[in-house]
Symmetry: C2
Subunit: 515 residues, 2 copies
């Protein structure tokens, strides 16, 4: 939303503990972005003329850098600490192990074909860079269902369907405004003809009767659904404002669909979010060394020397795509200014819990979308893929500070078993009697995932409005060393930001190599 | 929406020519329904004990009747006038011919795999009966994208994106209400604590600043999209109320997504809407006689005699699923009351225009959803299926009275070539320079489609509120003859209504057969 909305949120205390939650909102797109025209990005062909570049990290920023640099004629090596590419794009399948620091090891228990996108899970249609790579490499896309009026909102211990909350809220807003207009509240604001047209519109928009009163509204659902042979629908009784606003935690669900990066149409790759990273990896596979953590970043002559497990790599240039807070811990020859800028960058330790289960939610008419709750799990997410199949993976928690409480910190302080139990309890509240159908469940705590330790940089230095000196410093090359990653873009916590920042970083490499 | 909203619409003149447009809104779901629990419907097995039933019509109502009756042990014959099943579920593919009364013959020009759902095109997730048949017969379903914030709204000669119209409208509504509250407009309505919480919420919901003012809002889009490396987003300037409400025609687009039957999640069969009818047909194929128009419906003894092309069929019972206005023209032995009730039932003559084209809209970030316009074509619909494929069918017009002008009558009064030209012009306004990429285009005018002559019954006798004596009479069996079809349900103009009415009709057959 707007800068001012963000300030207002903090001021009003809508976000509870402002530190954690502002950050969470910001990083999850409330305050973040779309993209520039970037689908067709390329460096000039042959411009690399064999100069050597080492790329640190094989997440989206690293893979994009490697692909584009190699295509332009650079001699590229990618060093990736993990045994897989993708970074915070992590799709868990089958019996995949989930190893986290200070957490017991887990293994997924997912039926064949089922998966859980533990990290990145959705792509707005405005993210042209990442969608451009999907298209370029033939990655099939399908709709990601980010809004569903049939899901439940479980706040203050009561569950209502989203359609009732959203459309009764519209109705109440219209009723209040129409009433105020009837008493002349807008007489000074608009000329009469415009005012009359607007008041008529408001009645239509909110579903008011001809006296401006809001009553049972079919938009909000039915107690008796319209049927065959003499069965008119009976609409639900409207909720009161107290029922619609039981507390501050419910504010975000009402505006979630308005967040620019969360608006329809959203997309996902068929088969799991990692399909895009995998497709770029296919292009550069021989260049990528997996299982090679970097231990030091050194300048050597006009170039760089990267020390790592099993030796070191010399190159003319380096593209460093590691998260800022992890980079801070790697011995380096950076300037004092850069070292200072890298100190203490906060990263969001969000968490997800996934359960393989038969699709009982589809039997209740729920296909995709999100349920919301003021419980600690915050979110239940229904799979958009595989509609009609027997089983799917239900996300029982996506904890990121959505509801303004001290989350994800409060949630991830619980043992894994309790995180799963909380999620199971929330599913039970939304689907009474059904939580017994859930598989054992796995919990990913991003703060404990080695080589990530969070899903993205948060805080004022990484917000949506024009950033300050720290951010400027982080963008600045260190001689032949350039930097990329979502935290260096204004599309923070999205694959798009990683790809766009990589485009900028390798432009710098190109310029230096051509100079 | 609500009964009262309907009344208000008429009163306010929001619907222009009230006759046509009220009817259109009603019939397209503004005033119509969802469904009762019906996914598992069955008659008692073996209860038919070989009694003979003739089913008139192989649309959804006829196919469902035939399937269920045969499964229960009845001896079923279906008479269908056309050479295809499905009725108003009509998926046009490849070079399919389009033959209409008083219209030149057309042929589709669609690339392999592309199709146009000329009639039924979407299924709300609440339509349990039709979704139940899809599931029962293994018809694969996929999301139908009915809302997309990236589409254009072309009113008063100006095109804005839906996200700007919808979220600027929210912002303006919030701004007016917050301002009125600041002057005490709700002081008498809510206690202070509740009022303060609500006013805070309204600011959040609308994106207001801390003075209650609405300014540039990222929900509404950007003039500069947030990017990589020091590129903060610059949100669009907010529109004025005059720009947001240039005329009455724009009212429906604002509430379209609130219509119960249009709410996310919507679904469609993979490969075309006719896949469900085709799957039921597979179950009863040997029972269905195609190309057999009925010429008379006669009582004979305790049973019926159906006269038709090539002879007559004798049976113990008949299930008549023909549209009311066509049934009226078939000689019959019905009671005077029934004959009277069948006189003059109005049917909606809606129209669609389809173009095969390369997916230029996806290059602009548009995947599925509807554009809206006050031009005569009213609607442009982007395909939800086949995202990322080279070509798709763009619906350049779906004319049904959505925007309150004298449509579809005004549109369908034009020659087919002009209907296509109008649609092409609308696509050009939404996508400058791109209409040249559209294929030749085909127009389906449902009022001229033989054996349909409209897409469904409209008018007060077929509205959402408790219906009157005419409807009651149409439901009443004529001895061994029972009636089904969308017009006899409260889910008018939907496959769901056809299926649910069939369930009721064959229950009557079952009861009579068991008596």
């Amino acid at each position: 939303m707007t800068l001012t909305r963000r300030a207002m949120l903090a001021q009003l205390g809508y976000l509870g503990s402002a530190g954690a939650s502002l950050a969470a909102l910001q990083s999850l797109g409330v305050l973040s972005p779309g993209s520039a025209k970037a689908a067709g990005f390329s460096l000039p062909p042959g411009s690399g003329s064999g100069k050597k570049v080492v790329v640190l990290g094989a997440g989206i920023a690293g893979l994009v850098s490697a692909y584009q640099l190699a295509k332009a004629g650079f001699d590229v090596t990618v060093l990736e600490a993990r045994q897989r590419v993708g970074g915070r794009v992590w799709t868990i399948r089958g019996q995949d192990p989930i190893i986290q620091k200070n957490r017991p090891p887990q293994a997924a228990n997912f039926a064949a074909g089922n998966y859980m996108n533990a990290g990145a899970a959705r792509i707005p249609s405005s993210h042209e860079a990442i969608l451009g790579y999907a298209k370029r490499f033939g990655v099939a896309l399908e709709p990601y269902l980010n809004t569903n009026r049939s899901t439940g909102w479980d706040f203050g211990g009561k569950v209502y369907r989203e359609r009732q909350m959203v459309f009764d809220m519209h109705g109440r807003i219209a009723e209040y405004l129409s009433g105020a207009m009837g008493k002349g509240a807008l007489d000074a604001v608009m000329p009469k003809a415009e005012r009359d047209a607007f008041r008529q519109f408001i009645g239509f928009w909110g579903g008011l009767d001809d006296k401006g009163v809001y009553g049972p509204n079919s938009s909000s659902g039915f107690t008796q659904w319209p049927g065959g042979y003499d069965t008119p629908g009976i609409a639900v009784e409207p909720l009161t404002m107290k029922q619609l606003l039981p507390g501050r935690a419910i504010a975000l669900p009402y505006v979630f669909e308005a967040i620019n990066d969360m608006q329809a149409t959203m997309l996902q790759p068929v088969g799991g979010m990692d399909r895009i990273a995998a497709a770029i990896y296919e292009q550069v596979k021989p260049l990528v060394r997996l299982g090679v953590p970097v231990t030091a970043i050194r300048r050597e002559g006009a170039g760089v020397r990267i020390e790592h497990a099993g030796g070191s790599t010399i190159a003319d240039f380096a593209v460093v795509t590691l998260p800022g807070h992890l980079l801070d811990r790697i011995p380096n020859d950076f300037s004092p200014a850069k070292k200072k800028a890298l100190k203490g960058i906060p990263y969001l330790p969000s968490a997800k819990v996934g359960f393989d289960a038969p699709r009982f939610w589809e039997d209740e008419g729920i296909y995709g979308g999100n349920a919301w709750t003021d419980r600690l799990n915050e979110n239940v997410m229904y799979p958009s893929a595989g509609i009609g199949r027997e089983r799917g993976v239900l996300i029982g928690a996506y904890v990121a500070g959505w509801t303004g409480r001290n989350n994800p910190q409060e949630f991830v302080a619980k043992p894994i078993a309790e995180q799963i139990a909380i999620s199971r309890g929330s599913v039970e509240a939304l689907h009474p009697g059904k939580s017994r159908l859930l598989g054992p469940g796995v919990a990913v705590n991003w703060g404990q995932v080695e080589y990530s330790e969070g899903v993205g940089a948060i805080g004022d230095d990484f917000g949506e409005r024009k950033r300050g000196a720290r951010y400027d410093e982080l963008l600045r090359p260190e001689g032949p060393i350039v930097f990329a990653g979502e935290h260096l873009s204004y599309v923070g916590l999205w694959q798009e930001g990683a790809a766009l920042s990589a485009h900028h970083a390798i432009e710098l490499v190109h310029q230096m190599a051509s100079a």
